[in-house]
């Protein structure tokens, strides 16, 4: 039982915990300060080495944790600040969820650092890139390790900053800078919600430290579905919407593909965007007390999954397709959270991190090979030139489509089974989204790797497989995408759900708070088999359709500027959501700023400031005439003033 999380007394363990985020930070400092001066080999070695060290320490922490009876503990480093009754400690909490995220973040982070060493080798901002990546690792580790909401917020803002810096990494391109600003501003909207949520938590529970908040939440009576719980969870979810790109704040993520591809893989697919899910999961005690919010989250997640999947059907940019599939998969994860299938959600986070990082890195390898071409209409037949990339990309695609025995199958199947139990209609819609996912992913695969090469002759002569620093991470991730699903075998195959059992203790308090909501799924084996079969059949049908369309008939998406059917046009233009936001929010705000500038700033503020200046000048011009140089006049004024003062003194006051 997770009664009260005990602080740890072991100094060495505390130091190890501190080293996990500190090492990438040291890497950031050295690479950042030595930018341009350090040799490239050293920069890459430092950047990857620090993250590898963090990963190894995380593994050690994990082994130590499980061998000592899986007891969560808190590492109190120092008291960060105290305001009134609010005490914020700079402390880490190590429990099952933290360890899982640690392993995922540092493990995939390390692979992507290695990949970046190859991918960015021709870039002049090599040192800057690794410095930012290391800073990102530091922030992300703070986010998952912090033992209170304020620490999480610090990490939350840190990853947002790094995301901004890395999207706009090639800051000579104005469009990239705009994409970076868009991501930053949209995240800021979410952050405001998150911050208000933290304030409300403090007001309600008198603390922001996880163990205290969750303990008092589970003990207070009459909280279930009360207004304050709904407000807290909704506000926190607004933060998650921004960070994890859910409707209505998802449009920044596809634009974020302006950054270098390893960044898209690390930040905008595998780790940062799952911070929202981590946060909801961390606050599971609060969320089970607000079923209304849960229902809302499920609906938002499902809507996002469907919307992004439909947009993905018609995109022609290899990274944009992957971006929309990320948004769609994040929608699935929130759908799982909404139906209180917490473990399924984190399971999908984990497998998604494997295969989506793999897909992005594969896409990066393709882009690298075809001289920075990103349009799949100008690719094709690449499997001849890029065999390793092709095979790993195929594994990733199979995994995301949910074909057994790849990782995505187990997590998505488990997730959909929980949704089925909760609501049949949601399940049907989720299946539809899953169908579209398989279709557009295979469309991408077929258009890129099958058929004839459609690019220019110059590109064809440059085609080459990527260096080993790029292919090795691909192979490792491909292996993980293949076997990663076995940590959560469904009930029909195995008695023990390894991941579910491991994570079970973090829901203890939630069970006590609202046990009825967390009852495990009771699905008989027949239903489970049927559900599995249905989702596999649906995916296979989608793959066959894609095969017939893009390999048999060799359809190539229409070039830019052709007239499309109305629906196709609508999807191709992403439902005009960017344009709607532009009209509804951006332009009115711009117009208002212009109006405020012209009226408030130029007329009122400048008027007051300049008015004072003019007043002083004018009065000076008049008053200087009194300095006539005539002594008699001065004396007279002096005497008259003294008389006046005396008069006032004696007769008035």
């Amino acid at each position: 039982m997770q009664e009260v999380v005990m602080p740890i007394n072991n100094q060495e363990m505390a130091l190890l915990c501190l080293l996990v985020p500190l090492l990438p930070f040291i890497g950031f400092l050295i690479n950042g300060l030595g930018n341009r001066k350090l040799p490239k080999a050293l920069v890459g070695l430092l950047g990857s080495g620090t993250v590898l060290a963090s990963f190894l320490i995380s593994v050690y922490l994990f082994i130590d944790f499980t061998s000592n009876g899986s007891r969560p503990y808190i590492v109190d480093l120092y008291n960060w600040f105290t305001v009134g009754s609010l005490e914020i400690g700079f402390s880490f909490m190590i429990d099952q969820l933290t360890l899982l995220m640690l392993l995922m973040v540092t493990g995939i982070g390390f692979l992507i650092h290695v990949y970046s060493a190859g991918y960015m080798s021709h870039d002049e901002g090599y040192g800057k890139f690794f410095a930012y990546l290391n800073l990102f690792m530091f922030s992300m580790l703070l986010l998952v390790m912090g033992s209170n909401y304020v620490m999480m917020f610090v990490g939350w803002e840190g990853v947002g900053l790094c995301s901004y810096l890395l999207i706009g990494f090639w800051n000579k391109n104005h469009n990239y800078n705009n994409a970076a600003k868009k991501a930053f501003i949209m995240n800021r909207i979410g952050d405001l919600g998150f911050l208000l949520g933290i304030f409300l938590i403090f007001i309600t529970f008198g603390s922001v430290s996880y163990p205290e908040v969750f303990l008092s939440a589970s003990q207070m009576t009459g909280l279930t579905d009360s207004g304050v719980m709904i407000a807290i969870t909704m506000l926190l979810f607004v933060g998650a919407m921004g960070k994890s790109a859910q409707i209505p704040l998802f449009t920044w993520l596809p634009d974020a593909m302006a950054g270098p591809t390893p960044v898209s893989a690390l930040i905008h697919a595998a780790t940062m965007v799952t911070a929202g899910i981590y946060m909801v999961l961390r606050s599971n005690v609060l969320y089970v007390l607000a079923p209304t919010t849960m229902e809302f989250i499920a609906i938002i997640g499902l809507a996002t999954a469907l919307l992004a999947a439909t947009i993905g059907l018609a995109q022609n940019d290899i990274k944009k397709v992957l971006a929309y599939s990320t948004v769609s998969q994040l929608g699935f994860m929130f759908l799982a959270l909404g139906v209180m299938a917490f473990s399924s959600s984190i399971f999908h986070v984990l497998t998604h991190a494997f295969f989506k990082a793999l897909l992005f890195l594969g896409a990066g390898s393709v882009i690298h090979a075809v001289s920075n071409e990103q349009d799949i209409r100008n690719m094709g037949g690449l499997r001849k030139w890029l065999p390793i990339t092709f095979i790993t990309f195929l594994i990733g695609t199979l995994a995301i489509s949910g074909i057994p025995p790849f990782a995505g199958f187990f997590s998505k199947d488990e997730l959909l089974a929980h949704v089925f139990e909760h609501n049949k209609l949601m399940w049907a819609l989720g299946l539809l989204a899953s169908f579209m996912t398989s279709f557009y992913m295979f469309r991408l695969l077929f258009l890129t790797f099958f058929g004839k090469f459609r690019g220019t002759e110059a590109q064809r002569s440059h085609l080459h497989e990527s260096p080993s620093s790029m292919t090795i991470p691909l192979i490792v991730l491909a292996i993980l995408s293949t076997v990663g699903g076995f940590i959560g075998l469904p009930a029909v195959f195995s008695d023990t759900h390894t991941l579910g059992n491991f994570l079970s203790p973090i829901y203890d308090l939630a069970r006590r708070a609202n046990g009825a909501a967390l009852e495990p799924a009771h699905i008989d084996h027949a239903t489970e088999y049927i559900l599995m079969a249905v989702s596999v059949v649906v995916s296979v049908i989608a793959i066959i359709i894609a095969y017939v369309m893009y390999v048999k008939k060799e359809t190539v998406p229409a070039p830019e500027g052709t007239r499309l059917s109305p629906i196709h046009n609508l999807i191709y233009n992403k439902y005009y959501i960017d344009e709607i936001y532009d009209t509804v929010f951006v332009r009115p705000v711009m117009a208002m700023s212009t109006a405020f500038h012209r009226f408030i700033d130029v007329i009122v503020v400048d008027g007051i400031v300049n008015g004072f200046g003019k007043l002083v000048m004018a009065s000076g011009r008049v008053l200087r005439l009194t300095q006539s140089g005539v002594i008699g006049f001065y004396v007279f004024v002096m005497v008259a003033s003294i008389v006046l003062i005396l008069f006032l003194n004696f007769f008035i006051a």
């Binding site: 200087r624 006539s628 005539v630 005497v639």
Partner: protein, 109 residues
């Protein structure tokens, strides 16, 4: 022989007040109306001495020697001021051949 404070107290205090007020007023009016720098200077001395008289009178009526100490200071400062002031006036006269203050209006905007 009577002591000085007692001699002073033979005249009522009001008379000292009237006298020094009159003396001070004459001084002020002189400064305001006269144009000759030397006369203005003399009027300033009148004002200083009006204050001196009042100080001495009040000091003896209230049996407080502080007033008389101030009188000594004022006399010393006035003497110093006279030397400097007269020297300036002499220099002005040498340069301008006049001591009319109305003509000394060069120091202005």
């Amino acid at each position: 022989m009577n002591q000085m404070p007692e001699v002073i107290r033979t005249i009522p205090l009001e008379f000292y007040l009237y006298f020094s007020t009159a003396l001070f007023a004459i001084g002020v009016i002189g400064v305001l109306t006269r144009r000759n720098a030397i006369v203005i200077f003399m009027c300033v001395e009148l004002m200083l001495n009006a204050v001196n008289v009042l100080m001495v009178a009040l000091s003896s009526y209230r049996s407080d020697p502080n007033g008389q100490i101030f009188v000594f200071f004022i006399m010393a400062v006035a003497a110093a001021e006279v030397t400097v002031g007269l020297a300036i006036i002499v220099m002005i006269y040498r340069n301008l051949r006049t001591t009319d203050v109305q003509l000394l209006n060069y120091l202005k905007w």
